[in-house]
């Protein structure tokens, strides 16, 4: 590393630009504490390069190796100030060149091009220091629209990915991706491939950044761009991940989004003949999901996200399949769930409830949580299934047990009981 003068922030910025220009394959940016520089250098087995040996630790501003870039937290403020100043100046010059063009001056288009290149460069450095500086993202969009090529759009996906590497919750960076995809979706041959890559990116980021709402929201947004084959593939391929991240409510919500999307697909196919086999396949996927969820609930004790997902699955089942309106059923070539099936389902849920009370004398928090969730789940069932024949028969004798569990583990939720039982 070259010695970088502490007194001159614009020098620091130039240095950052030169690293970014020299290595277009940088795939990760991070802010590191000065004390980490030495550790990082020792960790890298390769001999210390000339660059690094030239400076002692206090002068270290950037760490760059194997396409990873570290920026010292000690220099973030001066770097940010210089980057913001340079960006605003570049924007000013670009706007001036536009005014000249509008007033009819000749030969300004090459000047505009130069200014546009500068805006892209300056916004790059700034956004690698502060990810939600909206104006910088906006100007990037404006510059791209001057000459909108697919390759430029793809570069933006790459740049936004780099920003997400240090700021995985950056709302602006995720939103920028959606803007790019909306722009290219109309005339893009490999849209399905792009959607698949986006979905994989969320998976990758969700691995490091747990319960990241912005990331999962992006994945849910993608669903409307997926083909029905892709939706099915996503349901299958994201199952392992979900099974390993049972506390991540977002990944189960994503599955519910996929299930609903698949159903939408079936419904829009109405009228065509071959739907009954699709329906059978769909029902099979749904049943697998319900069984898998039960397995997880029994394996991972006291996980709220699993129980809430079961609430969704139960309601979804009764909403979608137990349709009372015969016309609607004829439309989608489907037979309603029989009273017998509802009874079987309720029987199973009641058994699940009792299986969660087996350790009622256990003081462990997880087991108490499991008892609470199972009881509130039964309240959910009570609310949504009470109009179906067979409900009273299955549940009548169990209501007292349910109330006992509620009183014991979650007296603070007793009002739920009250409002559910009063018609």
């Amino acid at each position: 590393m070259e010695e970088v003068s502490q007194a001159d922030p614009s020098h620091l910025l130039q240095y950052l630009d030169s690293i970014l220009d020299s290595d277009p394959f940088i795939n990760e940016v991070g802010f590191i504490h000065p004390s980490q520089f030495l550790a990082l250098n020792e960790e890298a087995a390769a001999p210390v390069s000339e660059e690094l040996s030239a400076a002692n630790s206090s002068d270290m501003v950037f760490w760059h190796r194997d396409h990873k870039l570290g920026i010292s937290t000690q220099y973030l403020v001066p770097l940010y100030k210089a980057a913001k100043c340079a960006f605003m100046a570049a924007v000013g010059r670009y706007n001036d060149s536009n005014l000249s063009a509008e007033s009819g001056e000749k030969n300004v288009s090459s000047l505009q091009d130069l200014c546009a290149v500068q805006v892209m460069k300056r916004s790059r450095a700034l956004l690698l220091l502060t990810s939600d500086f909206g104006t910088a993202w906006n100007y990037r969009k404006l510059m791209i629209l001057r000459e909108p090529h697919v390759s430029t759009y793809m570069d933006e996906l790459g740049f936004s990915k780099l920003v997400l590497s240090y700021s995985p919750k950056s709302e602006c960076a995720w939103s920028h991706r959606r803007w790019v995809i909306k722009k290219i979706s109309g005339n893009c041959l490999n849209l399905q491939e792009i959607v698949e890559n986006e979905s994989d990116l969320v998976k990758l980021i969700a691995e490091k950044s747990k319960m990241n709402y912005r990331a999962w929201n992006h994945r849910c947004w993608l669903v409307s761009y997926m083909s029905s084959e892709q939706v099915k593939h996503e349901i299958t391929s994201s199952r392992v991940w979900a099974g390993l991240n049972v506390a991540d409510n977002s990944c189960f919500h994503y599955r519910s989004r996929l299930m609903l999307r698949m159903l939408e697909g079936l419904r829009t196919k109405q009228g065509s003949k071959a739907v009954s086999s699709d329906n059978a396949e769909y029902y099979k996927i749904y049943k697998e999901e319900l069984d898998w969820n039960e397995t997880l609930i029994k394996r991972y004790i006291g996980r709220e996200a699993l129980w809430l997902y079961r609430r969704f699955l139960s309601l979804f089942w009764v909403d979608q399949f137990a349709i009372v309106d015969a016309d609607a059923l004829a439309h989608i070539n489907q037979t309603p769930i029989s009273t017998g099936e509802i009874k079987t389902f309720l029987d199973n849920e009641v058994q699940l409830f009792y299986s969660c009370q087996g350790y009622s004398n256990n003081d462990f928090e997880d087991y108490q949580a499991q008892a609470t969730f199972s009881a509130t789940y039964m309240l959910w069932i009570t609310r949504h299934f009470s109009q179906y024949a067979g409900f009273e028969l299955i549940m009548k004798l169990r209501l007292r047990d349910l109330q006992e569990v509620l009183d014991k583990y979650c007296p603070e939720r007793s009002f739920l009981w009250d409002f559910l039982r009063t018609p």
Partner: protein, 312 residues
């Protein structure tokens, strides 16, 4: 536990402006108007708005306005619906909405409504129910709600309702307490709360209270003082506050104070910031803590400020 350190919180907020070299301060300059709104509203709830220099604030806010009529997060930043609402809210605090060219600001908002009733945050087209709330709240404070298509706006919000009773940012998106506040707030302002299943949503919201008494924003998340605002204001609007343990929540918020230097953090013993100081104080106001001004759960402004606008 102890009391609310009201004076220290006022001092903390007023001093934030002086820490211009802090990293956090520097890298959030694009959000300054947002921070100013939270900070000044907190001071007003604490009854001390006169410590702020009205002339200085109003003239700075007006410098953040863009030729399109919208406001940016700071001088020289692009306009956005969120920061436009913040500007109008700050002006409302200082009884200065009259300095605005109402037509210009409201036309900016109207121009961002889409065919399906949703709102884009700015000209770049990102859609989110947060922007629906922000547009509706802002244009209502400007007293020209009828300039937007309210029916379509409401229908779009309703299309973002989930089976759990909550709302997400677009149709099919996961329920989140912050988004729920936005959707319920927008429905409250437009008089359309009948679209909310209050028992079902209230159920989901009250399950956000964890053992410590604090509230989280989604299942399995840690509690955070910010949800003392997002969840509690939503419960207030749908009349289900009695479904949570108010006493425990009150204690949780008070435990998140920096009792020496002022300010409130997300959880006990974390670093304080202006945002969480607002969320804590506003939450306490909804819990009817003594000596605090009442806050309006939909407009996120003190009730007397809202009344001044609508009952002048």
């Amino acid at each position: 536990m102890g009391e609310l350190e009201a004076d220290k919180h006022v001092r903390y907020i007023m001093e934030v402006e002086k820490r211009k070299d802090d990293f956090e301060y520097v890298v959030t300059e694009h959000l300054r108007i947002n921070g100013a709104y939270w900070g000044l509203t907190t001071i007003d709830i604490l009854g001390k708005l006169d410590v702020a220099d009205k002339e200085e604030v109003v003239s700075w806010v007006m410098k953040c306005q863009h030729e399109s009529g919208g406001f940016g997060g700071n001088i020289g930043h692009d306009p956005h619906l969120v920061t436009t609402l913040n500007a109008v809210q700050i002006l409302a605090l200082f009884d200065s909405i009259n300095v605005l060219d109402i037509d210009k600001v409201s036309n900016y908002i109207v121009g961002l409504q889409n065919e399906d009733g949703s709102f884009s945050g700015d000209i770049w087209g990102e859609i989110d129910t947060r922007f629906s709330y922000v547009a509706i709240c802002c244009i209502s404070l400007l007293r020209c709600l009828d300039k937007i298509n309210v029916e379509k706006a409401v229908n779009y919000i309703v299309s973002c309702k989930n089976l759990d009773g909550g709302f997400g940012c677009i149709p099919g998106a996961e329920s989140h307490a912050g988004q729920i506040f936005c959707c319920v707030g927008a429905l409250a302002i437009t008089g359309c709360l009948h679209h909310v299943d209050k028992d079902l949503l209230g159920w989901w919201l009250c399950e956000r209270q964890v053992k410590s008494g604090g509230l989280n924003g989604r299942p399995e998340k840690l509690p955070d003082v910010c949800y003392s605002w997002w969840v509690l204001s939503s419960l207030t609007m749908i009349d289900r506050v009695h479904w949570i343990d108010k006493e425990k929540l009150l204690r949780f918020i008070l435990d998140c104070q920096d009792k020496e230097n002022g300010g409130i953090s997300d959880r006990p013993d974390d670093a304080v910031d202006v945002f969480h100081t607002y969320f804590g104080v506003a939450g306490l106001s909804l819990l009817e803590y003594p000596k605090l001004k009442a806050i309006d759960p939909a407009y996120a402004l003190p009730v007397d400020v809202v009344n001044r606008i609508f009952f002048k």
